[in-house]
Structures are given as structure tokens and as C-alpha cells.
Symmetry: D2
Subunit: 347 residues, 4 copies
Amino acid sequence: MTDRLKIGVLGASGYTGADLVRLAARHPNVEIALATADSHAGKEMGEVFSHLARLDLPPLTRWQDADWSSVDVIFCGLPHGTTQEIVAQLPADRVVIDLSADFRLTDPETYAEWYGHEHRAAQLQGEAVYGLTEHNRAAISSARIIACPGCYPTAALLALLPLAAGRLVDCDQIIIDAKSGVSGAGRGLRQNTLFCEAGEGLRPYGIASHRHAPEIEQELGAVLGRPIVVNFTPHLVPMSRGELVTIHLALAGGARVADLGAALARAYAAEPFVHVAGAGTVPGTQDVRGSNDCLIGVYADRIPGRAIVVAAIDNLVKGSSGQALQNMNVRFGLDETAGLGQLALFP
Amino acid sequence: MTDRLKIGVLGASGYTGADLVRLAARHPNVEIALATADSHAGKEMGEVFSHLARLDLPPLTRWQDADWSSVDVIFCGLPHGTTQEIVAQLPADRVVIDLSADFRLTDPETYAEWYGHEHRAAQLQGEAVYGLTEHNRAAISSARIIACPGCYPTAALLALLPLAAGRLVDCDQIIIDAKSGVSGAGRGLRQNTLFCEAGEGLRPYGIASHRHAPEIEQELGAVLGRPIVVNFTPHLVPMSRGELVTIHLALAGGARVADLGAALARAYAAEPFVHVAGAGTVPGTQDVRGSNDCLIGVYADRIPGRAIVVAAIDNLVKGSSGQALQNMNVRFGLDETAGLGQLALFP
Amino acid sequence: MTDRLKIGVLGASGYTGADLVRLAARHPNVEIALATADSHAGKEMGEVFSHLARLDLPPLTRWQDADWSSVDVIFCGLPHGTTQEIVAQLPADRVVIDLSADFRLTDPETYAEWYGHEHRAAQLQGEAVYGLTEHNRAAISSARIIACPGCYPTAALLALLPLAAGRLVDCDQIIIDAKSGVSGAGRGLRQNTLFCEAGEGLRPYGIASHRHAPEIEQELGAVLGRPIVVNFTPHLVPMSRGELVTIHLALAGGARVADLGAALARAYAAEPFVHVAGAGTVPGTQDVRGSNDCLIGVYADRIPGRAIVVAAIDNLVKGSSGQALQNMNVRFGLDETAGLGQLALFP
Amino acid sequence: MTDRLKIGVLGASGYTGADLVRLAARHPNVEIALATADSHAGKEMGEVFSHLARLDLPPLTRWQDADWSSVDVIFCGLPHGTTQEIVAQLPADRVVIDLSADFRLTDPETYAEWYGHEHRAAQLQGEAVYGLTEHNRAAISSARIIACPGCYPTAALLALLPLAAGRLVDCDQIIIDAKSGVSGAGRGLRQNTLFCEAGEGLRPYGIASHRHAPEIEQELGAVLGRPIVVNFTPHLVPMSRGELVTIHLALAGGARVADLGAALARAYAAEPFVHVAGAGTVPGTQDVRGSNDCLIGVYADRIPGRAIVVAAIDNLVKGSSGQALQNMNVRFGLDETAGLGQLALFP
């Protein structure tokens, strides 16, 4: 075990933290040396998540009681706003892989506008690297703080970045109709995530006001070299895991639908986790449940000059904990797929 | 019982037929006098649908054995293509309320293109009236053949017709991102509607090729006086009932988002079943499960000059059997809400 | 409206309260004159339950602010323990129909043992009548306080009482393996009723310690004339509504399995809501979703001398609000089925 | 790859076959060299199961076209009745691990009674070894034909065998109330496994007539040295994966409830996949989804002298494909946990 990376998981009592533990516990190069969960400090992880009860894990502690010298990498799955304060107090030579939203937005004003308070570690905001692995590998490989993308931005940007980069679509008319399973809302107690409320029904939420919109806009804007605004319309779907974005696009610059598919195929030809769906197949979240895969499909619209691009991920894996480990692999020069080989669980 | 309308239900062994029976059995002015189901002829309805076993219903027969003189109104819930042949053989003075797609498209060529064969009762196609009750009451009230809209067109057109009529939106850029529960696919045995396939996952289907697209286009085109083409992108959602359309629209003619809401509120002010959601609320299929309601909400997009309109129905009620009974009520001068007062079942 | 019974619903913000409103709003002899919900006082019911937003209802108030003179009947859907204090303060000529557990147990010691505190209105405990309609009609018809049974006891006792009365089974070896949808746990925020926790999984809970056990034992004991103890093992099932008890029984006194079926058929021959399943059919909760029905089936065990009895109800209807209205109908001499004619919603 | 065991999967188009492929594809000592699926011969596995589309697998063939020389081990996931004919034709030196029911019952008469025809390879029936790994390791390690237990018998026998062996319970009064997810019924098209039929509801099936009953009885009878009969009452639960048995038992021979827990703890102390739940915890299928674990809990009944034992597994893993690979590991002297380390997927 001595050669293994020692990781700490802050906020291990959420779904994201649990899925990180699930994957990290089987990662060949990782040892889970620290796990915090303030409200459950003193408990074993298996008391909080019974499916993890057979693992040999350190007991849960308060983050204030953590011995940072025991870990090489710190994963933060804390509520938004908390992470920035903690990261500012960490030893400066610890790699931080943040699953919260705290370091995703690089502009302090945008952060303050969307999160309702000034950033409490603005000096670190600039240092953080956006952790969309496939599009930011070089920076990730030497970053100290890696801000893992939100689940929706992961799916949306994997589908959109190559199209925006190629100027193949009108980026001022991007419509992202998004659908998520309930785990995206976390394990906190909320009425709308009760079984009886979310079950057997579908409802949009956060229309034109979801915090993942500015994140998508920031990354697309960086590629375009100018600010843009997108439609982002999420829906809560009666399933636990899975996220699908249906992106409605106007073609630009003379591009045809086939050009979109070709651009995506080219962009991801060598990628282990991002796949362009073959002709006649349509991605579903069923295809990626529990895996780190992202599936993308491109389809002609009935309206001439338009296309539909669909992307499916598991929101807790590629949309969160899986991508976080993928970033760790990149950062520490490990095989990028290490610990992420789980196939989708179907049915 | 003698004053009651005697109805026949053809195709009573499908979900649509069963829901028609569920509602009609409690309709104060209706007697179910005939029910057919070819593959189950000779059985009791309760053997085919155990939730209806406590009703006093006629035994199921083959439609060829039906005594048409016993009924005043004939509801057809038969597979597409079958209805037209049967209707052509019925006594000309029987009112037909068709829940299939056979008489929805009025243009023979469009029908042939989308259904793969020449219409077998083209002479009746022109006679049929499109049964979107709220928008076609006058014609319905004296029609002999009423073609009830598809489930998706019901939701989409209730949301779109007032906006198209008012030239408030760009009808050449209508994007209908639609989501349906599994009952929309019927009770036939299909792999993709098995619990294990449709459960815990979400997948688009029929992208740019679903037969409800030309139906929406026909009715919008009639209002506009010219042909149009729409984006129609349905998804299969892990729930049994419920349908939600999320319509992405570009404003036109100087309209503001508030004008859309006002136009819809005006159009449906006196309607018993169509409701515009109040500020701060978002329609969900949970709100209409089992009821004949349609809820519509209007929201500003983040992209300037665009709006998002959401409509939710129960696909088997307002999207099929409920609307069929509503049309019967209109046709026979009954209280339009008779038999349709069931509140949504939640949770 | 003047001839209608004016009802008050205390605790209208729970699932039980909402389902009572759903049914009462369509009851031909009822006017909802009062609705309380402490934490939502001042809101409209439609803000708390969007599926009820189209009803014309009084605004929610605190129960302390209720004008009791405005109502003839008071339905209590309050948390256990609260009801007894309120009922003690009500005008003595108001009929109280209690959906909580406060007046189900008649023995003060048993109450204190299972609910952890002395009963705060012990003088009223004796006055309360156990509201299992089919077995207690005479007492209900003149009661001032009607204690509606718990959901599980409703299903279990409807199946067991005729068998116990006929000494057909060994009442010292009754095994009640029970399964409930999640709505049985109420709308309060609890981790185990989140969609992600209860979905796609099944787990027993409250083994040998659920409060519905003493209630079942009390009523069976009353029939037998001696105290008994039963096995009661509930499970949480990933569905919103529905409850099914699978009762494993040893035959007694020379009874055969057919005798059990005959006893049940005899007991419920004239009942509008309790039905014995025909040969070859097995009750499922799908058959009763949203209806006031209880279905019971009797089956031979493979072990000689044993039988299996299955009963299915909708826990929110026959298991709670529907039975409460049924009791009101009995109490006020109305048609017992008034307002309870809704057929099961399937699928 | 040359050192890997080459396996063939017959019947790869069922859920069991797919889950075997999912696990085997990540097994460090296995190469999938052959996969058959008669109705899909010529297709790629990824066309039949889209979640497996990124694997490099041999194309599906008819079993008649299989080159048996290419494989060391043959897994049969074929419909009951088919396997026996195929196995009879295989080279006698190939190890067969059968996931069907064909070789589970050792008595030809019992087989004929429950499966409706004479066994077609009765000479092999005696040769087959019952593959409940934890209880039959020695025989499995040298068997040519390993008959993997049914999913229900796996859970039931893991819970019951140590208790029966210790004469701790009355084996003539064993009541197994069982609950299964829908995948247990396979991928074939059946009305009762449609999403709309199995969703949002619970129903018993196969009461006193399910084919897993004689299998449980056979294995318990072998331990007891005499034939027994058990109550086995399965229910179809609205989830895809997971199986839970709730076993109601009368204590025997002076045993106390704690003795049952101790006997189970002793029996499985060294087992990697079978775990006795700690005090205060109750197994749920959520704890084992996708994993090869079996969790067992023991609880006192309210009825004196009785106990309740609960066991949870994933029906497709420990209940089928996972146990099959576990048996392969035992048979070929591999690490018994190889390829089976996947933690449960929760939520």
C-alpha cells in the first residue's frame, strides 16, 4: 500500500462523496486515508452508507480535525461556499480536486452574482483549473486546484465544445434541454426529492436560473473569445442516476449535420470515455449507469439547417466523482482509466 | 338508464380503451353497451384489466360481431390503420369518436407518407373533424367523425395555437422537446417498454421522425395559412402516465414574454380544463395525473428574445380518453365537464 | 350548498390531508369549510399541493385560529400525539373523525408503552370508536369520535377478522408480511423516503416494533376474547401508493383452505368496497390505486394445513382518507359509497 | 491474453447473459471467446445491449455454429429445457457452468413433475454439482457440470442451511416470503413485466407453485436427511434488480434467536461475499445492487419462540452471473473473488 496515493474525501456523507469512495476503494493506486463528514463525525462510513459497510475505511471526522499531512490529494464534496474557506487553509502543497462549484467560475463578479456572496478565496480562483478532462488535460496535469465541472456542464460541454471550436453552430441560439435523475439534488432533505414527489412524474425546475448556465457559458465563451448566453432548461426525472442533455442547434457557416458528427468523432477518437453513437442508435442514460462514459449522438432536425445533439452521462460518475478520479489520474501521471473501468450496470 | 348515451368501445383491451372505460363507467350520461377486443373476445373486461373487474360491463366481442344498433356513439381505440376500414362499414348515422391516428391527417398524401399506405377511407378523411376541443368546439358539436388528437399534439397545440394565431412567435423555429410516460407506447409487447428497459433511465426516440410531428404541423399550418415544419423530439421517461412538452420559442413581431402569457390566459380564461400556471409555479405531470387538465406555463429564456413554454397533461386522459369524452359531451350537448371531474391523483 | 356537511380538515398539508381534500372536494354532500396546516398558515392549499390548485378552498389557517362553529365534522390528520390535545378542546357536539393513531388503542397502558407518553385525553379514549367500517358500522353510526384504523391494520384486519371470528386459523401463529408504498411514511422530510434511498430497492423496517402491531392485536384480541401477539413485518417498497399484506396462517379446528375463502366471501358479500378475488386471480396494489377498494385472495400453502391470505389496498384511500369519508357517510346516514366511487387508476 | 480462461456464453441476449459478460469482461483471468444468441445471430453484442457496445467481443452466433474447441468453460444462460440437450452434445472435457434450471434438481421425477417433461439428459443429472458456492466448494472444485442455483434459492439457502444443519429451527414450518425485482423474469416479452404493469405496484405471483420451491426443498432435505416442504411466496416488486427473502421461522431444540445469528456468523465468518448484518441494521437490496454480496439479518419475532431472517442479494449477480463466475474461480483454482470486487451501486 505504500506506493498508493493517499486521498482525503471531505464531505463523504453526500452521494458524490459516497460514489467517490465506491470508485476510489477499488482504484489500484489509491488509499483512502481520510474521510470527513461534520454531522456524522465519529461514525463509520458504513453507518452512513450501508452499501459501503464492508470496506475498511477510516472513521469519519470533522474536517477541522483532519490531519492533512496524512493525505496527498484532497477531494472536496462539500456544500457550495464551504470549500473555498477550507481550501484557503490547506497546506499549499496539497493537490485539491474540488467537486463543488466553488472554483468553477473564474470571474469574481459572476461568482458573486450567481452564488449571492463574494468569493472568500478569490486569490485561489485564478489558480484553479477547470477539470473537464478531455478539454483541459495539459493544465490539469500540473494544477494544484482542479475545479471539476458540474454534472450538466460536463455533458453539455463535451457535446458543444468541438462544435463551437469549429464554428459549426450558431452559439447565440444554443438550447440545452436537460434532464437529470434525482441524485443530482444530493442527499439533503428536500421536499421535491422525496420519492412521492419526484416519482411517477416529470417537472422542469430552475428554468433560466440554474447555476450551471453561467458555467457552460464561461467555457463556451472562452472558446469563442466572447461572452455568450445559452438556454438551459433542466427537468427532474424519476430515476436516481443519469443525466441527458438534448441540445437544439442552428447550423452555422455552411455546416451540415454530418459535419457535426465528424467534428465530434474527430475530437474524441482517442478518448477512452467519450463516444459518438453510431448511426441508428440514440444515447440513453441506461447505457452509462454507474460508468464514467459519455455518449453523444447527432441527428438532423426536421427544420432545415438545424441539428439535435444528445449527450448522456451518469451524473455521479462522469458528472462528478468519476471525472474527479480521472483528473487525479491525469494530475499524477497514472493511467487515465485506472479505477474507472466499471461497465454500465444494466438493467 | 334509458336516457343515457349508449357507447361502444372498440379496442377495449389497450390502455386507452381501459381508461375510456374507467371514465365512462362513472359518467352520469353514459352507458357502456359494447366493448370489443379481438384477441380477447369472449372474455370479461375484468379478465383483461383487473382494476375494472368490479364493473358491470358487457363481455368483450370481436368487432365483426358487434351489434351497431345497440350504440349511439362509437369510440375507436384500435391500432392505426384498422379504424378507417371499420368506420367505412358503420351505419352512416353513428357518431364516431376516433382515438387512433386514422383521421387526424386530412391530406391523403401526408397520410400515405407518414403511415406507409394509402388511406382506405379517404372519402371520410374530409368529413372528420379534428377533436382538439378547446379550438374546434363548433365543428365538433355537429361532426359525425371526430378525430381525437394524439397525446403530444394535444399538449403542444394547446400551448402553441394561441401564440401562432397571435403571430407572437417565429413559427419556423418551434422546438418541441417532449417527454412521455411509458403508457403512451400502449400495452403491446415491446422490448423498450419492459420495466427493466424503460426503468431508471431516459432516452430520446423517434427524433425527427415521430408521426405526431405532421399532425402538429398541420394544425399550426392551418392557423398560419401556410405549411410549416417543427422540431419534435420525444423522450421516453420512467413513469407510466404523463406527458410534458418543453417548447423553445423565438419571439416575433415585437412580442414580449408577458404577451405570450397574456395570450394564453385570454385564450383559456373560460376553459374548465386548460390552465395557465401562476407566477412562480412550473407545471409537472404530477399535477395532472389521472385528470383531464392541461397546465401551461410561460417563462423568459436567458437568451434575449426567446421564451420557454411548458405544457403538462396526462397522456391517457386529456391526451386521449378524457378528451374523447369531452368531445362526446360537446357533440351531444352535455355539460362539457360531465364525467371528467376527477382530480389529479397525487402522490 | 346549504345542505352539505361542513367539514374541517386539520393537518391538510400531509398526504393524508391532501387525499381527503381530493375526495371530499368531489363528494356530493360535503363542503370543505376549514383547512388547517400550522406551518403553512396563510397559504392557499394550491401552494402546498399544486394538484389541488384549481379547487376553491378556504385558505390554510393555524388550528388555534379555527372557527369550530363553521364545521359539522372535524377530520384530524395531525401528527400522532397532537390530536388528543386538540380534540379535548373541541366543542363536545362536534363529530371528530381522526386519521391519526391517537384514539386507536383503547388501553391507556398499551398506548403509553407504544407511544412513549401518557395519553393526554384518556377520558376520551373510551369514547372513541374504532373505525374499521365493515366491522363496526353500528357503533360508528352514533359515535362522536371515530378513530380510523392505521393503513396496515385496515388491510390485515379485513382479511383476518372473519377468520378469527370463525376460529378457522391458529391466532397464535399469525404472520403478517406487509409491504407499503412510500406515502405511508408521510410528507415529512426523512432520509429513507428520499427518491434515491427508497427507489430501486426494498427493505424491511420496524421489524417486531411497528406501532400497527398492537392495533391489530387489540382488534383480533377483542374478537377472540383474549390477548394475542402477531408477527408484523413491514417492508418499504419503491412505489408511492399501495399496501399489500401477505398473511401466512395455520389452519385450525379442522378448517380447510376453502373454508377461509367461504368465510371471507360470506362476510363481505354485501360490501361495496371489500372483494374476495376470484379463483386464479391474485390481488395487486395496481388493482386498487386511488380507489377505496380492498381485495382479498386466499391460497393454499404447499405446507399441508396452512394457507396464505393476501389483501391489497391503497394506503391513502381505504387505508386512510377514503375510509374516513366512508365513516362520515355512515355516521351521518348518507349513502355509504357517496364520494368514493373513483375507480382505480391503472396504469 | 494467452493465460486467460476462454469462456463461451450461451444465451448472451438475456439479462443473465449480459450481466455475465459485464462481469467477465473485467475479470482478470478471463477472455470471452464465444457468445451465442440464436435470434440475434450475426449481430454484435452491442446491438443487443447498448451498454456493452464499447467492449471488444466476438459476434453473436447460433449455438449450433459454435466452435467448442475455442473455449475452456461454457456458461449456459439458455431457456430452461434447452440446456440439457446442448450439454449432452458438448465435448466431455469441457466444464459447463449452467445458469438455467436444467441441472438443479437431481431427482428425475421431481424434475418431470415441475418442468412438465422427462429430463433429456438424465445421465448427466447425477453428474451435475449444485453450485451454491459457500456450501459446496469441494464438489464444485472438481465438477464438470455446475448447476448454479436459482436466484431465490441462493438467498433462501444461504440464510437457511446453517440453521437447518444446526437443527435450530422447525424445518416443517419454514415460511419464505420472497420479493424480486423485475429482471428476474428475464428479457422476454411478457405483459406483466411491462413498465406500466409492474411499475407503481406490487403483486404476489406463483404462490405455492414456483419452481424454486422444490429446489430449496431439495437442498434443505439433503441437510436434514428427509424430504420437507416449504412455504415459498414470491412477489414482483417495481425495481429492476434485487431480491429479498423474509423468512419466518419457529425456533427448535431450545434455540434462542441469538443462536441463529451466531450460527450464521460462524458459518460465514471467512466468506468474502456473505455477511451477517450488525445489530440495528436491516439488509435492503439497495445495499447489494450490482455486487456479489449476500446480506443476512436475524431478528426476534414478537411471537415468542419465533424469529425472522432476512437475506438480500442482487438476483442477477449473486443470484446468477456473479455466483457463476465465483464457481468458475473455485473450479479453476483462481482467487475466488477475482472479477467480483464491484461494490454495490447506490443510489
